[in-house]
């Protein structure tokens, strides 16, 4: 491909960071129709506008989602990408692959698609970028034979995602990958057949470091934590100190609740666990010496989402702690209650966070049978505008009766 043909895009082949333009070029070398993608993209770079048309419903047999239909405004000039649908393929939890499995995907996508991918989409899927309607079903069938399935799209459960967790991280407080797989398998129907008011996402991080952005990017974030004391190996503390780690400055001074003390004489750490908020900082800095406690489990945060419509939402605590061994059952039970309530009360395109705000936490907590807990709030409400239910009240008296009586006099 000559750079004169695509002068703007060719600027993006320069520089040390791997170039997506080169990836497209490389593909176009094998698949000439993909040159049309460069053509359209160059045109977008010139005109500063997208040339993709709005939506278009396409799917595979029995599924309501997993494919994003896409058509070009430049179909005449760029017929190679006139239809250019993406397929969202459900990634294996934790993004581990055998090269065998990956090569299978490549082979299938070479046959049925553009040969371009995103590894991965921001929900977690393998994004197979661009194919034609006719190829969707055969491609799906081939993927299925290779052991792969589609992920979610539309008003459905979206592909659950997890941090690497116990597979390669010493901090994991529960098995993120197993839970991710379990939820994905249990809710295949919810994933493939949109039927809710809007989308719903699960994400799972093994500890409060939140390496999969669960709290911000999923309606139902499950974040590992623990309840008992941080485990200290004082020998390793000493070693760190001897290797030159300034424990006072690097650890103690950053503890948000000032609950950790360092004795520079003894080279020992003392933690006032009652005041520890399990922020992970001391553990992060001294992973050989400190570890989460034994009473491991997770905290559940509800509602994380992007800003449309009511502004961005960071998921908030609805369950402060569930022990790891009860987690899977608890999550399923709770999520199903949440879905029932949302399904019944949610408006079209209303995410669950927005529904909770519209109807109130009281309503929500009652529906999903959770007890209120101060850990659910940054602070209690500032306005004294609260609702009472009939069972909270005594029988009503009519003030008019009292006053009319009064007005009559003795």
């Amino acid at each position: 491909m000559s750079d004169e043909e695509f002068p703007l895009l060719s600027e993006l082949k320069k520089g040390p960071w791997p170039s997506f333009v080169k990836e497209i070029e490389k593909t176009a070398e094998h698949k000439p129709e993909i040159k049309d993608l460069l053509k359209q993209l160059e045109r977008s770079y010139e005109d500063k506008i997208t040339y993709w048309k709005h939506g278009g419903i396409v799917s595979v047999r029995g599924y309501g989602g997993g494919v994003i239909g896409r058509y070009s405004f430049l179909a005449k000039e760029c017929p190679g990408i006139a239809e250019f649908h993406t397929m969202r393929v459900n990634q294996p939890a934790g993004y581990f692959y055998t090269t065998e499995a990956l090569r299978k995907i490549c082979d299938i996508w070479e046959e049925y698609g553009s040969g371009l991918t995103n590894m991965h989409g921001s929900t977690g899927d393998i994004i197979l970028l661009g194919t034609i309607t006719k190829n969707l079903q055969p491609c799906f069938n081939a993927l299925a034979k290779a052991g792969f399935d589609l992920g979610g799209s539309g008003s459905a459960l979206r592909t659950p995602n997890a941090c690497v967790g116990p597979a390669r991280c010493e901090f994991a407080c529960y098995d993120t990958l197993e839970l991710c797989y379990d939820l994905t398998m249990t809710y295949q129907d919810e994933l493939h057949r949109p039927m809710w008011p809007y989308k719903f996402k699960f994400k799972m991080s093994g500890c409060p470091n939140d390496c999969v952005a669960a709290r911000a990017r999923s309606d139902f974030g499950i974040i590992g934590t623990w309840k008992d004391e941080i485990k200290i190996d004082q020998e390793q503390v000493k070693k760190y100190a001897e290797e030159g780690v300034d424990i006072q400055k690097q650890v103690v001074e950053h503890c948000p609740t000032k609950c950790i003390e360092y004795d520079p004489e003894k080279k020992e750490i003392k933690i006032d666990n009652e005041n520890c908020v399990r922020c992970m900082h001391c553990i992060n800095v001294l992973p050989k010496a400190l570890r989460p406690g034994d009473e491991k489990g997770a905290c559940i945060l509800l509602g994380g989402k992007a800003p449309i419509l009511e502004g961005p939402v960071m998921g908030w605590v609805i369950v402060p702690f569930i022990p790891a061994d009860e987690l899977a059952d608890f999550v399923k039970d709770l999520a199903e209650k949440v879905w029932d309530w949302w399904d019944e009360n949610g408006k079209y395109r209303e995410r669950v966070a927005e529904l909770v705000e519209r109807l109130g936490m009281m309503n929500f907590l009652e529906a999903v049978e959770l007890e209120p807990d101060p850990r659910m709030v940054k602070h209690p409400r500032e306005n004294p505008f609260f609702f009472w239910r009939e069972e909270d009240l005594k029988p009503r008296t009519d003030p008019w009766k009292i006053w009319r009586e009064a007005e009559k006099g003795l």
Binding site: E23, T50, W52
Partner: protein
Amino acid sequence: MASEPVEEEYISDIGPPYFRDMLPPVIKNNYGKWKYHEVLKPGVLVHVAESGDKVYTVRAANPRLLSIYTIRELCDLADKYCDGYIRFTTRNNIEFLLTDESKIDDLIKEVEELGFPIGGTWDATKAKYSLSNIVHTQGWIHCHTPAIDASGVVKSIMDALFDHFRNMDLPGLCRISLACCLNMCGAVHASDISLVGVHRTPPVVDDDAVRRTCEIPSTVSGCPTGALRPDMKNKTIKVDESKCMYCGNCYTMCPGMPCFDPENGGVAILVGGKLSDARAPSRLSKVVVPWLPNNPPRWPEVVDTIKTILETWAADAKPHERIAEWIDRIGWEKFFEKTGIEFKVQLIDDFRLPRHTFRTTTQFKW
């Protein structure tokens, strides 16, 4: 429309492959039994298991948009060095997992030759952090609503900040994310630095397109500011332009009303978001630049601004201090002063009930 049916035994709802079938033996054997990790050098980690087993991770950059021809090359390297296993990270970096420390340097050489630089790790023990990959979205490559491109902006920024990816030379974690429209598929609402494509002009209604393709009542009621009114007589939608804040939700719901405008669309920049609870609690990002021009192919204004923010922070922050924590310490007024960014009136919240974002204290700096 469903594409043509295929007549054979129909497999569906099988879900993804079981992840355990994808794990390298050293991972499988030490699953849940990791003891600690160390960062050997930028891009290279070692995790040590209770059993004494070690797994070495070599992390490589990834443009995310990968050709299958490149993936096959990566697989070749994984076959050669990693017994046929490969992994990706939640920020789309590529990870090679080795058990033989002596092979690391050879692997690195070959991966870099392929065009994939090594880096993106951080070492909390030493308070040395490198910049990782930018999480991003489709842009002009595939989406119908972007105000800007995605991959091109990311490439331009990462080229400019490349040294920070290769070296662990930042004082704290810094996550950059990009989304090409307010739908924010890059979930940029909680990143240290984020970029989002914004429109600045109300939708242009094509009555005919609205009639053909839109569900008028739900589109109208979907406008968060009530800027839309149904025009039932003409079966179309009217826009009260003074109420529109260009969120693009109406276009998402109705192809008849795009907000696009090449010269007026552009990039907003947010800072100070944070996901981890390490030290300071997690929080949402805040807008610090409401608009920069959409200037392909290299977006110089955007790149400069990001660079300025990052370098100002990096020079001024204490060890471990992320942008959010740095601003907590210095104050927003000093953020604007130090970065030289102008405090525009658009940065003051005016959506819904913004009072909780207003400064109700005389505590500020000069």
